[in-house]
């Protein structure tokens, strides 16, 4: 099998699983209890918090563990809205956000919030002047992602933070794809909140975190026993959090080498595909793009049929984002960067990671042209084009 869908999820690093194992059946205590074994669990959680904070370039007490990136996004946005309810009901986000952000904003819209969806340029970068113009008196939150999951485009987060801060507006960034792929340094000049998810960096699924900058406070989203200093209730997922911490630690140690190696593989793959397949475009920003992501539109054919064909060859890839692969709509991200409906429909995302090898690149680049050829042969658009 060749797995090239690391933006959808990553396998747990074996070292991560190793680190989690003692916390299932042996050190299983509830981290909120008073007895000795609970103290051990608590210590493990706090060590994990330090590791995650260290990768994020923030303080441990700024990290609050959640059940994943989706919950973090929901919490940040709903929390900011609730907190600043009295001040206004306007939220600014972008047209290329993950559904965890979009659908949370849509739910707020049904409750009377006004949502501005910032347009992006053809590379997927948000328009800063539009952002500036959109901030009104009643604006309470800007939520713009750090790096896009589909096309890999990296947003000018520093500038957005500056702008939001200068206008007294909270700024949340969905950093789920950035965390572990880009060196982050979340400090007082950056966003007020940032969402992370462990399973995008070789950690377990079902664990994530919300960074909340010191001095910022939003009400809890999941309420109950008062875990995570009262900010996120629910019995602490000790094993999951320990795994997240270990994953962050490994990434921190290996990030530079990984970016170099994986980035190189991606570049070779891109080059080969562009050389061998006609009528194909690369999506995303040419430079400010995640090193591992290659998103292309292959004209005249449709995405799912490409994926199925790749699957028959044992290659895992995606079209649009994984969570919407049951969906019929072409990717909202590709539409936002200005691609016509039928071109957006032919998108293929190859996202690479830790376990990819040169062989994988060779396999994909040797198999893909034949698949494209075959699908184009039965495509009415391709045949029309050829015959004129």
């Amino acid at each position: 099998m060749v797995y090239m869908d690391y933006n959808a999820t990553t396998p747990c690093d074996k070292r991560v699983v190793e680190s989690m194992l003692p916390y299932f059946s042996e050190n299983f205590a509830n981290a909120s209890s008073v007895y000795q074994p609970a103290r051990a669990a608590r210590k493990a959680v706090e060590e994990a918090r330090e590791k995650v904070a260290s990768l994020a370039g923030c303080l441990p007490e700024e990290i609050f563990f959640t059940s994943g990136g989706t919950e973090s996004d929901n919490w940040a946005i709903v929390g900011a809205a609730l907190k600043l309810e009295a001040r206004g009901k306007h939220i600014i986000t972008s047209r290329v956000e993950h559904h965890a952000v979009i659908n949370t904003c849509k739910a707020l819209a049904r409750k009377g919030y006004r949502i501005t969806y910032l347009p992006v340029d053809s590379h997927g970068v948000v328009d800063l002047s539009k952002l500036e113009a959109s901030i009104k008196k009643d604006t309470v939150l800007v939520s713009v992602m750090y790096a896009n999951n589909e096309i890999g485009t990296i947003q000018p987060v520093g500038k957005i933070a500056e702008l939001a801060r200068s206008r007294g507006v909270l700024f949340h960034t969905d950093a789920v794809q950035a965390f572990g792929k880009l060196p982050l340094r979340l400090d007082k000049n950056g966003p007020d909140m940032a969402s992370f998810s462990a399973h995008k960096l070789y950690g377990p699924k079902g664990v994530g975190a919300l960074y909340i900058r010191k001095g910022v406070s939003i009400p809890p989203f999941i309420k109950g026993g008062g875990q995570e200093k009262g900010r996120r209730s629910g019995t602490t997922n000790v094993a999951g959090i320990v795994g997240f911490g270990r994953a962050a630690e490994i990434v921190a140690a290996e990030m530079d080498a990984d970016i170099e190696r994986v980035g190189n593989l991606r570049d070779i793959l891109e080059k080969r595909i562009m050389e061998t397949i006609p009528e194909i475009v690369v999506n995303g920003h040419p430079e400010n793009r995640l090193h591992n992501t290659l998103n292309v539109c292959i004209r005249y054919i449709e995405g799912e049929s490409i994926l199925m064909s790749l699957d028959f060859e044992g290659i895992c890839a995606s079209s649009g984002s994984a969570c919407t692969s049951g969906s019929l709509e072409p990717s909202h991200v590709l539409l936002a960067i200005g691609l016509p409906h039928e071109v957006a429909h032919g998108s293929l995302r190859l996202s690479l990671g830790r376990y990819n090898t040169m062989e994988d690149v060779e396999k994909v680049s040797s198999v893909l042209p034949g698949i494209v050829d075959r699908l184009r042969q039965i495509s009415p658009f391709w045949n029309e084009k050829k015959t004129g």
Partner: protein
């Protein structure tokens, strides 16, 4: 979303793909739900579909159902062929996932439109 083995088989090895030069009937239908497109070409002799081919821009189900509908239609009289329903195509494939039910409409519509086109051309002659 799970496809049956049969869908996968027909997707991998579709029959009757391509064009017919100088067809007696031809149609281009678009799926109102997803925007996918199918073209059907037919050759008719003695009110019977002698040859049939398709071109499809669409998902796996669209390609598989295109293949099946052409196979079902081939050799049938026009009256018989007009009765082929998307239900029949879906059953032939052992079912389609709920979100993919609409894909089979493309096949039924495409075939009917091609027959209609043949009749119109003939009538016009």
């Amino acid at each position: 979303m799970e496809y049956t083995d049969k869908v996968c088989e027909y997707f991998r090895n579709p029959k009757n793909m391509g064009r017919i030069e100088n067809p007696d009937g031809v149609s281009t239908v678009g799926n109102p739900i997803c925007g996918d497109v199918m073209k059907i070409y037919i050759k008719v002799r003695d009110d019977r579909i002698e040859d049939i081919k398709f071109e499809t821009f669409g998902c796996g189900a669209a390609i598989a159902t295109s293949s099946v509908v052409t196979e079902l239609a081939k050799g049938k009289t026009l009256q018989e062929a007009e009765k082929i329903s998307n239900r029949e195509v879906v059953d032939f494939l052992g079912g389609l996932p709920p979100v993919k039910k609409h894909c089979s409409l493309l096949a039924e519509d495409g075939l009917k439109a091609a027959i209609k086109n043949y009749r119109e051309k003939k009538g016009a002659k």
